[in-house]
């Protein structure tokens, strides 16, 4: 258990049942606007090339995405991508 993990209160408060995820394979062509990497001691940061990652559109109006890959979560902002995804699912 790392101290880093215990500092991640916002993540811990998330109910796993509330995470709405959009599954995708690696290779999303967007620029990272903000990164809040999260790692866990003991969760080896192995190369994830070819491994699935999951993107969650946390706030559609701001275009805030959480990207889950391996044992980490990265946050980025991309309003255009958010809009395209919403259009794709007819929302």
């Amino acid at each position: 258990m790392s101290r880093v993990r215990y500092g991640s209160r916002a993540v811990n408060r998330l109910s796993r049942r509330r995470v709405l995820a959009i599954a995708a394979t690696a290779g999303v062509g967007v620029s990272v606007a903000g990164v809040t990497g999260l790692s866990l001691a003991g969760e080896t940061a192995a190369k994830d090339d070819g491994q699935p990652l999951v993107i969650s559109l946390r706030d559609a109006s701001k275009g805030t995405f959480d990207i889950f890959s391996g044992g980490s979560k990265t946050t980025l902002t991309d309003k255009k991508l958010a809009a395209r995804l919403l259009k794709a699912v007819k929302r």
């Binding site: 258990m1 109910s15 796993r16 995820a21 969760e43 979560k73």
Partner: protein
């Protein structure tokens, strides 16, 4: 119960549900501490064809705080992996299981042990250790004790480990306690019970003949104490450690239906279960916050301190047992914060309250099982632990045979408040109340050596 199904969400996720945590200086090796974390509670022994097991998708951890900041200085992580030998049978075993690598045993589970230090550096101590099978029955497993004994492994780094099914040794009369706080020995004194009974009842151990899955580790004391000291005095702050267990799951899971192997589990681990002191989340924390509590670190527990200072159960006792807890009722009415319970559950007991004893970890309020490692194992353990003058018992750590339910009820009833306020006179009932059970009400006998918990009840004889 201690922590079986203690919160709404985790009660639906038994594989990750911690039920009991024990920590005591090992009677079979007093230079070590034994820590046992139980998961997957309330297992019916006859559970074929799919017997119980740990979750391959759950990260199980045992944490040790040695400097009182309620953050782990040492963590042991346990990860499990299930292997199927034969894809063409519906059976757990296709013949008798006589060894841990018996080809007749179809569905086996293995685990790794990883040590994480205070700086977050992790070291895999062993990548593949065997769990014993579940105790299917004496036809399938003629010598279960041998298999379980073979599954006790000593690591090169000095720790001894075991992970697998055990008989649940926790004893509690769940049926009566959660039926409006009734204690069967006092049912005729209960507000409603006295209209139904004119005699004292006999308590029933609701968990008897049920199994759990245990993760047990025995660690040299020098490895868990602050500064790595091999010997300490009881008054030395470095003698005290705080212990808790947690279970976590990946933040995201995507199920692919028929493409099972394509299921995705990614993201940081999210804690879904936690256990330090028995009954803390179960009895102290309001239902609406229990799952939140499970997700947090002990370092966050000051936000729950108010529930310890004014426990709901203390206000219920005088109502449920009219006339027996009048002094407690006055204490409640005065709204005096329960400094005794704060010490027992959140900070440890400071030096000076109990002769020749302390297990404080300082000012940080955190629910941890606190153990003064300088106290040797008792030659004649008392079920009421510290309340009976046995310094090696709960709430100094927790031994398997400690009657933590009765100790906790007595403490909440006011027995321990006199330690912090000598003008307070506990009610006579507070010193007498008990659930009416002991370790003798557990049908599987404890072992005299690690991992101490008894042989799991088998499915053949316990259908």
């Amino acid at each position: 119960m201690s922590s079986h199904r203690e919160a709404p969400e985790i009660s639906k996720d038994p594989v990750a549900d911690s039920s009991d945590l024990y920590a005591f200086v090992s009677p079979d090796d007093p230079d070590t501490v034994t820590i046992i974390a139980n998961y997957v509670p309330m297992q019916l022994p006859a559970s074929g064809p799919n017997f119980f097991e740990f979750g391959d998708d759950v990260l199980y951890e045992i944490h040790i705080d040695s400097n009182g900041d309620a953050r782990p200085d040492l963590t042991y992580q346990f990860r499990f992996r299930t292997e199927l030998r034969n894809n063409n049978t519906f059976l757990y075993n296709t013949g008798q299981i006589k060894s841990l690598d018996d080809p007749n045993w179809n569905r086996r589970q293995f685990y790794s042990v990883t040590k994480v230090d205070a700086h977050g550096k992790s070291t895999v101590l062993h990548s593949k250790l065997p769990c014993p099978p579940c105790n299917v029955g004496k036809i399938s497993i003629p010598d279960y004790e041998k298999l379980a004994s073979d599954a006790v492994k000593k690591l090169k780094t000095g720790e001894k480990v075991f992970a697998g099914q055990r008989a649940d040794a926790f004893f509690v009369d769940l049926g009566s306690i959660f039926d409006l706080g009734t204690l069967r020995p006092f049912q005729d004194k209960h507000l409603v019970g006295k209209t139904l009974f004119n005699y004292a009842g006999k308590a029933v151990n609701a968990l008897d003949k049920l199994n759990v899955h245990s993760i047990a580790i025995q660690v040299p004391l020098a490895a868990v104490r602050r500064g790595g000291k091999k010997a300490v005095r009881g008054r030395d702050p470095g003698a005290v450690i705080g212990i808790w267990t947690s279970a976590s799951r990946r933040q995201v899971q995507v199920r692919q239906g028929d493409k099972k192997n394509a299921d995705v589990e990614v993201g940081p681990q999210v804690q879904v279960s936690r256990l330090g002191n028995p009954l803390f989340n179960e009895v102290i924390v309001p239902m609406a916050q229990k799952d939140l509590w499970n997700s947090l670190s002990p370092a966050e527990d000051k936000r729950f301190a108010g529930f310890v200072e004014k426990p709901e159960l203390a206000s219920l006792l005088p109502v449920l047992y009219p006339g027996l807890f009048d002094n407690l009722a006055k204490l409640n009415k005065a709204k005096t914060p329960r400094a005794d319970l704060v010490a027992i559950l959140l900070t440890g007991i400071p030096d000076g309250l109990i002769k020749d004893f302390q297990n404080t970890t300082g000012a940080t309020k955190a629910d941890m099982l606190r153990l003064n490692t300088a106290v040797p194992p008792a030659k004649d353990p008392k079920a009421f632990g510290l309340l009976a003058g046995d310094l090696a018992g709960f709430p100094n750590g927790r031994r398997i045979e400690d009657d933590v339910v009765s100790i906790s009820i007595r403490a909440i009833a006011g027995v321990t408040f006199a330690l912090v306020d000598q003008t307070f006179k506990p009610d006579a009932a507070a010193g007498l109340v008990e659930q009416g059970l002991s370790i003798k009400n557990v049908s599987s006998k404890l072992l005299k050596k690690f991992p101490f918990l008894g042989t799991p009840f088998d499915g053949f004889d316990n259908p």
